[in-house]
């Protein structure tokens, strides 16, 4: 296999650039990734383990860190499915039907990407804060949304809002509606058509959307920071825990927790790779 290094994946003559070009592309690509992804990752890991494995373990198994981990997983476990359902509905409406104003809706779906994370948190403060639109009513009924888990979930949902939909819309438009029509003509109900025909066809795109959404949901800092209240062991997510540790001059522990986050994200990616690999070899 090593003989094939740097050769093009396709062996047709006349199309493929000479080895030297492939070499240049590889060097540039790897160099770019090295500078922007691998080096940062190495730094994170180096700092995380700079004081030894046991301290790393101590940092991530500390009570507050565990609570933060639990909260992070909980938030992701709510935000991802919620956006998943939305992504499916939106891509069904936007990709399988032709109607006016589609571009506008797609732009609105993109919008949360363009909102500064701080503002993403702030908007919920403006809604549910003591002086916000619904604040007084909530206070009267003793309901807490911001500075509690619901607020964190909402902010996370907001910042991860576009991922699934963005991933699915082009994919579903590409696939057209032929198979759905066939299913209907065979007597399937709308729901059966969706579940048995549409869903299996988009499962890879869906998985990808979920992974990106999940990575961002677990990694989100700015928006969550505004609505969290930073209550130790209660409303601190992992990224906030990283900040707390950093701010109290506990550098190693901060990076240990950060490495845990990077690890979580890589685990989901590895899972995807495994599933992909398995289904290819079936």
């Amino acid at each position: 296999m090593f003989i094939n290094i740097l050769k093009s994946t396709d062996k047709r003559p006349g199309l493929n650039p000479p080895l030297i070009v492939n070499m240049a592309i590889t060097v540039i690509a790897l160099g770019f990734l090295f500078l922007f992804v691998i080096m940062p990752l190495i730094i994170v890991l180096k700092e995380a383990f700079s004081a030894g494995l046991s301290l790393w373990w101590a940092s991530i198994s500390e009570k507050d860190a565990l609570a933060a981990l639990r909260l992070t997983l909980l938030v992701a476990a709510i935000a991802v499915p919620v956006n998943l359902v939305f992504g499916l509905a939106a891509s069904w409406a936007l990709a399988k039907f032709r109607f006016k104003g589609k571009s506008l809706i797609i732009t609105l779906i993109d919008l949360p990407f363009a909102v500064s994370p701080v503002v993403s948190g702030l908007i919920y403060v403006l809604l549910f804060g003591l002086h916000g639109w619904f604040g007084p009513w909530l206070a009267e009924h003793d309901l807490q949304i911001i500075f509690a888990v619901p607020g964190i979930v909402l902010a996370t949902v907001f910042v991860t809002f576009p991922f699934v939909a963005r991933e699915l819309i082009p994919l579903m438009s590409e696939q057209g509606t032929d198979e759905e029509q066939a299913a209907l003509s065979l007597g399937a109900s709308g729901w059966q058509t969706f579940r048995r025909v549409t869903l299996p066809n988009i499962k890879w795109g869906l998985m990808y959307g979920i992974i990106l959404c999940n990575a961002r949901a677990m990694g989100e800092f700015g928006a969550v920071s505004v609505v969290s209240g930073h209550i130790r062991g209660e409303t601190n997510t992992l990224p906030l825990q990283v900040e707390v540790l950093y701010n109290e001059y506990n550098f190693v522990a901060a990076f240990a927790v950060a490495s845990l986050l990077a690890g979580l994200a890589l685990v989901t990616l590895a899972l995807k790779s495994i599933v992909e690999w398995k289904s290819k070899h079936d």
Binding site: G129, L130, G229, H230, I231, R232, N247, E248, Y249, F251
Partner: protein, 331 residues
Amino acid sequence: ETDEILNVSYDPTRELYRDYNELFAQYWEKETGRKVNIRQSHGGSGKQARAVIDGLKADVVTLALAYDIDEISAQSKLIPPNWQQNLPRNSSPYTSTIVFLVRKGNPKGIKDWNDLIKPGVEVITPNPKTSGGARWNYLAAWGYVLNRELGDLKKINNPENAAEVNAAEKKAQEFIAELYKHVPVLDSGARGATTTFAQRGIGDVLLAWENEAFLSINQLGADKFDIVVPPISILAEPPVAVVDKVVDKRGTRKIAEAYLKYLYSPEAQRLAARHFYRPAYPEKADPADIARFAKTKLFTIDEVFGGWRKAQKAHFFDGGIFDRIYQPGYK
């Protein structure tokens, strides 16, 4: 059956309050036989104040500057305006001051504020618009100039010296402008500035709270840095207050008040000193700890600036003196 209160505090007090909460819990159980669970929140002082204003249900706040509690009081009426009189020493059970953290051996020979504007000296201090700590740095420098020009800070509040004070303030403004010309990076927070100085190796001197300077040395290596305490500096008074409306609603007033009051107890004072805060009553703390704090002349916000709100308005609001340093002619 446990009582529960939420203490909303600012950033690097986590270790202090972790120990204190334990201490208080023992005390409280001994006093009343009841267990107490103290929930703890840490973040930027201003951000924490805003959270309380926007509905974070804090029973007590222990923040970095009185201004932030003033704002809670002003904007949400959760705390009465005269809150600072509820506890001794301006409601500040522990204090600190602004010191210089320099590189080992103090190669640039920085001893006093004036040395900061020597050619070639780079100063690291965060952005006062975003960092409460940075405001203390700024105001300490300002106070230094007034003291130098007037000789006696008491003149400030005497209307007879208005002209003299005015001239001194001009000088102060020039000094501050010059000082910030020596600042290569404006980090958004104190912690970021410390990192810039200590880990990025940028600058010759870091303006920092005394307790944080100690923390940095402990964390980052005593062989790398020295602490220089200038002959005069500001008395940083991190205040504490009970959030009346919240404790009344939650029925936690008694324990919240006890929580803050106990901060003045010998045990708590000793704890504060151990965590590098200057205790309000030094005599109650361990002398070995007290010995770590260099003797220096300290002035207060009230003396020089007439309180936080005034200082904030004149210096840090949009169009204030700080903005004019970067945008001459800005209104």
